[in-house]
Symmetry: C2
């Protein structure tokens, strides 16, 4: 089973990706982002995304109730349904699900983010959290009956509230729960770059033993991404492919080793 993670950048070739997926022999689940769309919508609605920096130096989106509304519109609404529509047009019988539908992705709400404000530590609590478990019964029920789940945030917390969560973390929990042997990550770059500014510095292969070193090599979102990829290997084997979602046949290219392969 393959987990196909489609990034939220606006330059991904969504039609190419979906068309390519329709030729895939193995079963798969799609999970997608919608960062660019969310940011654009938030700006139009005059509710720009709030980003806070934790005391330990990680940047996080701060999700208040209005941000969650916008997230539901951008991720579970527009992006999810347009992807489902594209799937249907090439014969993939997709069913879009957010993590709250049938409690597909259950998580635990964060107790709060420790931030420094004017030298003082303070706790800010938002509607975000970490995925903990998957309703594998529902996903299997759908897949055994010919449907392809198309997942997006929000996920559901321990009290039934919708919360935001990092897709990379969801992929890690999903991979273990569904026993997926492959994860394909489609991004707006040729794969993992030795120098993030140089598209010609593609790293063709990373051994999982090397991930910690690579994590120290990068910053920001990429640091978090590598950390998440390390988690993918904590509880299981398999192969992670990171590759360019902007080409004509992204899935074929990536499975043929044109991106970065981590194993």
């Amino acid at each position: 089973m393959i987990i196909v993670k489609i990034g939220g950048g606006k330059n991904l070739n969504l039609e190419g990706i979906i068309n390519d997926l329709s030729n895939l022999k193995e079963k798969f689940i799609i999970i997608h982002g919608a960062n660019a769309l969310r940011d654009e919508l938030a700006e139009k609605l005059n509710k720009p995304k709030k980003v806070i920096t934790s005391a330990s130096g990680y940047n996080s989106v701060f999700t208040d109730e209005e941000s969650l509304d916008i997230m539901m519109m951008a991720y579970a609404g527009l992006k999810n349904k347009r992807i489902v529509e594209m799937c249907q047009q090439v014969g993939i019988n997709a069913v879009g699900l957010s993590g709250i539908d049938g409690k597909t992705v259950q998580g635990k709400r964060n107790v709060g983010i420790r931030v420094k404000e004017q030298g003082k530590l303070k706790i800010l609590r938002d509607f975000s959290g970490k995925p903990k478990s998957i309703n594998t019964e529902l996903l299997k029920l759908l897949m055994e009956n010919g449907y392809v789940p198309v997942l997006s945030v929000p996920i559901i917390d321990e009290n039934g509230f919708a919360i935001n969560s990092e897709n990379d973390d969801i992929v890690a929990v999903l991979k273990e729960a569904m026993n997926a042997d492959k994860v394909i990550q489609l991004i707006e770059a040729p794969g993992f770059l030795d120098d993030p500014k140089d598209p010609n510095s593609l790293v063709k292969e990373i051994l999982k033993e090397d991930l910690e070193r690579r994590e120290n090599q990068v910053d920001g979102r990429m640091k978090r991404k590598i950390l998440a990829i390390r988690k993918l290997f904590e509880n299981g084997k398999g192969t992670v492919f990171i590759g360019d979602g902007r080409t004509e046949n992204p899935i074929t290219d990536i499975l043929n080793g044109k991106g970065t392969v981590i194993k």
Copy 2:
């Protein structure tokens, strides 16, 4: 089996409705609108709803691609996910589905609306259409496994495109396909009013033979609604309840005959 149609007005007591539904013994499917939310969002995005009047005198929303985007955000995104969240909080294991997910609601795209412009007849074609069939297998699969489907537009046309459709028409097709014996329609009024301007003119009971006369009594959306209710009886028996979705326990009230009962 009961079909529960939640109107798209902003004054409905959604929490009361959902809470009340959690005590229901019979199986049910929810289908919801989001008119007020859609209009509000469209206005904020500076894309006000386009309404055109057909040559035969019916008003219709004209759904271009941008309107469809907004519809996906308001209906399948924000409204659907907030309803699913409320359901989960009272123990209803809801799964939100638009009509394109798993081709739950399949329709036929309208060939166009005949309008009169400066005295001349003209055809305008948008992304809208009529529901024709239901993927009952998917709905039954979910319901037999303890899930409650929460449906919204868009639906899917014969070429795999997302299209807008009237919820009343979807309810009619759904009722027949799922062999539902009850339809509950929750609106922002005590029920069917003899005089739309007088909330004290509630009609407690309408016999289906009387519907045609009632249809001629009203205008606009209500006319379309009565027409849709007539269709509910074309292919089957059952009871339609129209009642106030603003009370504390709307479902209990309506099933106890506090609204309009049509049979």
